[in-house]
Amino acid sequence: MTSSEVLSERERLERIESLTDGTLAYLDTEDLQVELLDRVCEMLTADAAMVLMLDQSRSRLVTRVARGIEEALHQGLSLPVGRGFAGRIASEQAPLVVEQPDDQLVERVLRERGFASLMGVPLISEGQLIGVLIVGSLRLQSFTQPDVDLLQSAGDRIALALQAHTSRAQLSAAVVLQRSLLPPHLPPIAGLEMDARYVPGEGGTVGGDWYDVFSLPSGHVCLIVGDVVGHGLPAAVVMGRLRSALRAYALTDLNPDKVLTYLDRKLRHFETSQMATILYGVFDPMLDKVRLSSAGHLPAMLTQTDGATIEVEVPPDPPLGVPLQAVRRTTVVDIPVGSSLCLYTDGLVERRGAHLNDGLALLRQTLVPGDPETVCTSIMAGMVGRTQPRDDIAVLVVKREARQPVKQLTLPAEPSSLAAIRMALRRWLVDRAISPTVLNDLLVAVVEASANCIQHAYGAAGGLIDLEMTVHGDTVTVTVRDTGQWRQRKDETGGWGLLLMEQCSDDLQIVRDDDGTSVTITRQMQEEEDS
């Protein structure tokens, strides 16, 4: 439109209006940029315009939107900062105008289009370069200072929109990631009760805190609370990777110190300059002991059945990701039935202007015996109350079930449930006065009854097995129920199952009716002294 140095007042107003038009507010970031580029091209009588954004490494400019030179987008045009036309605008963070550019200056894509005049401005947001906006004209024209000003105004508008878009996108991506990695329901594990809480920090920013609980095929149970230093999407991404890597290492090594050593090596090699603290524990299959290793993490709390809460003394080794060749250690801690462990991140106990020891003392007072859900609720009420936590908080409470006279269990009628049934029975009876022979007999009788149910009660659709285990005085009774229609086995390969059930129980009752089958096994916990 212009090549004169002086614009009329009317022209100037028209230009401003064109870039601040209220209808632009309703466009999303992508459409807004397209619309602004088109308007800028029209006002400057240019043929092409594009937005290039600085990438994560801050060393390259990547095409984000292109008008009139769409191939830049399709080819994924990426230009180094410091070289070429766009690169110079980025490194100098100043507008640049060139006419009849020589080959050295102009990037190949621009050269092939044969632009005679080029003009570009930096996109700056919160004092930081985030990209470059350039326009090109095939016809030789002299861009003037008012033209540069116009382009810069458009650039400022785009920078603002891009910045808002990026922070919104990062915030929601971090929240989605965090939620997907912290499932609301912890896995049911026989013999343990547990609950957990996660709350984001100030302004709803998620960070790198996480908790995790899982069983291993061996029956060991792993529990983790960790904290990746930093906030937002980058911390959440590293957290996700650490969580997966830890699960993988846990499958191959039962020693917490070894697993943390591998994890440290992985972090230092692949995520340099990231740091994390972790408290990692592995319960023995019978759940009576937990082996703990700490990578610079705050101590777990053990709430005993008498009501007292103590700090679990685990000498902390260095955090993961620091350049120290640490020899990591494992501490074995007894976990009596009915007691519970609380693992947490620093956000729970650190308060502005307060000493860490005061936070830890308050947590000790807050922790009282109870079911983990109640305990978690009272921890959050007592420690956070009505103040918005500055940092994000993860809390995990795992309680070893108190001795229970009656225990119920429902599992899918599948062969893979048999190992879980044995584990549940063993854990339930672990601190009872039961002889090893009787325990083995009970396991055999109950698993045989369950295996029968798995093979004969349901068709291809499958179903459930219900177990009810009761201790009354010196007698254990286990009832195995299904709700299926019994089907005679197709190949009769010996009656060992029934034989074993009979021989391994003091009394065996099998009731079959229209509602299904129930097998009741009764057994004294001590052997008769008649041998």
Partner: protein, 105 residues
């Protein structure tokens, strides 16, 4: 999931199959095929060592019985090593496999 390992040691046409872990309906057929894969026609004796088995029931018995009958047909000696007083020994005794059982090899 039920887990077991199958180890095989062969010397002078005698195979020693060492089972460890648990055997039930969930893994019996897998254990069985792993045992079968180790058996060949030159063997004069097969010993199944249950010393490291922490749980076994009728599913394991079934595979041992099938193995015993097959080896009888091909006139190969069969032994089960199973320590006295163990849970596996009790199951072996109840199911009538005691004639093959020894405390140790």
């Amino acid at each position: 999931m039920t887990q077991a390992t199958v180890g095989v040691h062969e010397e002078n046409s005698q195979a020693r199959i060492v089972l460890d872990g648990e055997i039930d309906l969930a893994n019996a057929s897998e254990v069985e095929s792993r045992i079968h894969a180790t058996l060949h026609n030159q063997l004069t004796r097969v010993t199944v060592d249950l010393s490291g088995v922490t749980y076994i029931d009728s599913a394991g018995v079934r595979l041992l019985v099938k193995l015993a009958s097959r080896l009888k047909v091909v006139r190969t000696d069969f032994r089960i090593v199973v320590p006295s007083g163990s849970g596996a020994r009790r199951v072996v005794e109840i199911t009538g496999l005691e004639e093959f059982a020894t405390d140790s090899s």
